[in-house]
């Protein structure tokens, strides 16, 4: 892990100003930001760990916990909000049993809401692992979860 971090830091020529892009690349590599990786960044970039931690927790792009196999992002931008996106968010969190920003305990699903994806014509929009699903509604979101194998996201009342 340390070698990979050093490699990434070297790519940015050890420039402290590139802390945010460095962390983004580290996160891409490990699917999240493990504590050891952050300590390695602190050491090899010569930035106090308190500042690395501050930056990691300040910006929404970073995750200290592993993400799920399926990463769902629901746009809650204004255009999607006025088209009823909040109700879809409610449906997803209740079906997955987690809160926004969390990952299911089986590490299958992560759900987050994002500011605006800029695909307003398709709003509301749900992104699953980078794939955009437009004109989202409650029924469609249930269908998608069912397709991805979420147990309990069925049309029946029983479970």
């Amino acid at each position: 892990m340390e070698e990979k971090v050093k490699e990434i830091i070297q790519y940015y020529q050890g420039d402290k100003s590139y802390l945010v892009p460095i962390l983004q690349d580290v996160q891409k590599e490990f699917n999240y930001l493990p504590k050891d990786a952050l300590c390695a960044v602190s050491t090899h970039l010569s930035v106090p760990i308190s500042r690395v931690y501050e930056v990691v927790t300040f910006y929404k792009a970073f995750s200290l916990k592993p993400k799920g196999r399926y990463q769902l992002s629901l746009c809650l931008g204004t255009a999607c909000h006025v088209r009823g996106a909040e109700l879809i968010a409610g449906n997803i969190t209740s079906l997955l049993g987690i809160k926004e920003g969390e990952t299911t305990s089986d590490l299958e699903f992560s759900f987050e809401t994002v500011g605006c994806l800029g695909a307003c014509a398709l709003g509301p929009v749900l992104v699953v692992n980078g794939e955009y699903h437009g004109h989202m509604n409650i029924a469609k979101s249930t269908k998608i979860l069912k397709k991805l194998g979420k147990k309990g996201a069925t049309d029946d009342d029983q479970d």
Partner: protein, 239 residues
């Protein structure tokens, strides 16, 4: 020399000074919560706001950061200023309802809590004045503590909320904290102190035997200055 007016009083100042400095030099009191002589101003608490008029423009600005200018007219108690200070204190009182210092300040300024703000119940006394972090970074040079998260989730502490390996136990943060939020416990004999969850062994003075500084702090100073640790093991009174 720069000529300006503060509360109708004509004042002379030097270029590069800020309003707060000049006011203090001239016996004009402006309340502050995050200001400390040893630290660069942060402009975070907004208590020191004043209303300034430069030419036609009037603005509410923080006196700790606003540079003096020729012909500046400053009002330290205008209606707009008082409203900002009132709101700031009311908000902080709701955030830290247990804080004695805040209650005293509010009483002095004749400000009552705003009933509509439900007091927070997390028992924190931290008003996020930032003095501890600024001290640790700039004065002590260790950056053992820092901020995390943002907005109302923002908090001060050690990275990952775990014990900090870089903390040297100097206690400067606890000393500078205006609200008593940072707790430092010392054993009865004084041979150890606990801060930010870590216990630090204290060094006894070679001369008088009194415990006076954490060993980790002396090691740090030794590494930074090159002075051997043994030579540092003398307390201030015995030097």
């Amino acid at each position: 020399m720069i000529n300006l007016t503060i509360d109708n009083k004509k004042i002379e100042a030097e270029a590069g000074q800020v309003i707060l400095e000049v006011a203090r030099e001239n016996g004009i009191v402006i309340p502050t919560l995050c200001s400390n002589e040893a630290l660069e101003p942060s402009g975070a608490c907004r208590m020191c706001v004043v209303e300034v008029k430069h030419g036609k423009r009037t603005r509410v600005v923080t006196s700790c950061l606003y540079p003096v200018a020729e012909g500046l007219i400053v009002d330290t108690k205008s209606a707009r200023v008082m409203e900002v200070r009132r709101l700031v204190l009311q908000l902080l009182l709701a955030r830290c309802p247990e804080s004695v210092q805040l209650k005293e300040m509010a009483e002095e300024m004749g400000i009552n809590p705003e009933q509509r703000f439900t007091p927070d119940t997390d028992n924190s006394k931290c008003i996020l004045c930032r003095m501890c972090v600024r001290t640790c970074e700039k004065v002590v040079g260790v950056s053992a503590i820092g901020f995390s998260y943002r907005g109302s989730e923002k908090s001060v502490g050690t990275p990952f909320k775990k014990d900090s390996v870089t903390c040297i136990g100097c206690g400067a943060c606890a000393y500078v904290c205006p609200s008593g939020h940072i707790e430092m416990e010392t054993t009865e004999s004084g041979d150890a102190r606990k801060i930010w969850g870590r216990t630090f062994k204290m060094k006894a003075c070679k001369v008088c035997g009194r415990y006076f500084a954490p060993e980790d702090q002396l090691t740090y100073i030794s590494e930074k200055t090159g002075v051997p640790a043994e030579d540092l093991a003398v307390c201030i009174s015995c030097r």
